[in-house]
Amino acid sequence: MTTEVTNVIVEVLPRFEGYVYPNEGTAHPLWGFLIVLYPYITGLVAGAFIMASLVRVFKVKALEPVYRLSLLTALAFLLCATLPLLFHLGHPERCFEIMMTPHLTSPMAIFGFVYAWYLMAVLLLELWFDYRQDLVQWSKTATGFKGIVYRLFTVGVTDESAKAVELDMKMGRILSVVGIPSAFLLHGYVGFIFGSIKANPWWGNSIMPVIFILSAIVSGIALCVFNYMVLTWIRRHTVDMRCLDTMAMFLFYALVVDAAIEGLDWIHRVYAAEEGFSVMQTMIREKLFYTLNLGQATIGTLLPLLMLGSLQLLRKRVPELGRRRMIFASAAMVLIGVLAMRWNVVIGGQLFSKSLRGVMGYKLEFAGVEGWLMGAVLLSLPFIILTVLVKLFLSERLPSSEHTPQGGPAA
């Protein structure tokens, strides 16, 4: 249709092929880039938490250097998770309704509760129990703003006895165990939001929540790798190769499972070839070509699988510098690939018409609430928060107690 300059009242019709329902013919999809970002961010939270729980629940000692960093990463991203949703709502000032009159047949109604539960009862509590002894010690010596923060977070409890510390450790373990299904719920319900929509064949199947959770775990581990290496580089430390190699191993195997299940979804679609499949093929070939074939499949899955897989086979032969570079590149590629996957699911489902006869196109704008500038801002915000958290809680100048795993890259 036309792409000339128009005034704000007239909608520029999207390019579409075939037949789409008239209500679908809007200039941009209803769920735009903000709704692509929301599952991406909560997926990173869930995945980072799973990474941390590998230490506490599955007792993978090699990963102890990233334990605290993983939890702080999860916290930083969780604090930003509501923003894309709030900006997307037609009436954000009514957002409290979702907690006051939650409609229990709707998966979206669970959001307020599962978010509050995960933030307060799981993440903050686990962090608190892990940090409590340190907070008590730091609050005694620190001054100024930091001092206020530490004293605030002790919540007035200054017991440092061995019994109290033992209780802290026990509670931390319990919370890690509780946290795993909670993390699955936090991100799984988003997958179910899409999976429950029987009206849309691109979304509505039972494998959608599973794919979301698996790709969340993959993205979370990749994010922890990324953050760990960046932080080490900033602090001019040496990377703990045992930790990094273990993270790469978990990333590889998680990626294998994720790729297998996504591949299964694809194979089933091709094999069953249900109604609208030819339109889906058109959509993938034309509208989602770069984001799916290049972004999700090649950059996000194939290349990292090859790199990490070769490292699993040839670890001893590859020198340390080479390993670090390959793992870092794989992690960065996985992060891009999972974002592309969210785009393909969210936007792809809306390009595909419910008339099963047509497909629309969509070009991401630069400015505006649903533009990529806003997306970039929302994605950089968690990193800014993480910087603050790291300065407060992973500072090298403050000693951490002996019982806890070393909180961060050591000298």
């Binding site: 409290f96 006051m100 009159t101 409609h103 129990f129 919540v155 017991d159 019994k163 109290a164 209780l167």
Partner: protein, 150 residues
């Protein structure tokens, strides 16, 4: 008997939890609209609000008050299924104040329905306007009684 003493961390946390949960229930009681749940999981007052909107079209029955003659003629001929406002436009204001005139018929208005189109059902009277006549429809057809001639 040793008195059970709750560890200080747990006590603080329990108090905090009670505070947060208590605040939630108070907020819920205050912020839930009064008619919510009257008929189902929605604001019962919404039904009244939606019904309170002023209608725009007057409806064929409203025309009967003053124009019953025309309506009788209409009912006896092929245009009996038509509503007055289909051709004369929104006539609510005219119904309330007859000095305000409704939209008049124009020739093109007949074409909207009667232009021949292969998608239109075969029983429907259609003409290829180009080949039919170049003047006004009303020269040969009476709008309210289409089978009569003027």
């Amino acid at each position: 008997m040793r008195r059970f003493k709750l560890p200080p961390q747990i006590l603080r946390l329990v108090l905090l939890t009670l505070g947060i949960v208590g605040t939630y229930f108070v907020a819920r009681a205050v912020l839930t609209p009064p008619s919510f749940g009257k008929y189902g999981w929605y604001r019962g007052a919404a039904l009244e609000e939606l019904a309170a909107r002023t209608p725009v079209y007057a409806g064929k029955q409203a025309c009967d008050e003053c124009h019953s003659e025309i309506l009788h003629k209409l009912a006896a001929d092929a245009h009996k299924t038509l509503s007055c406002e289909a051709c004369h436009g929104v006539s609510r204001e005219h119904g309330e104040n007859p000095d305000i005139l409704p939209v008049k018929l124009t020739g093109s208005h007949c074409i909207r329905c009667h232009e021949a189109n292969v998608s239109r059902p075969a029983w429907f009277k259609q003409i290829v306007v180009r080949d039919h006549y170049s003047g006004k429809c009303v020269e040969c057809h009476v709008p309210h009684q289409p089978n009569q001639t003027p």
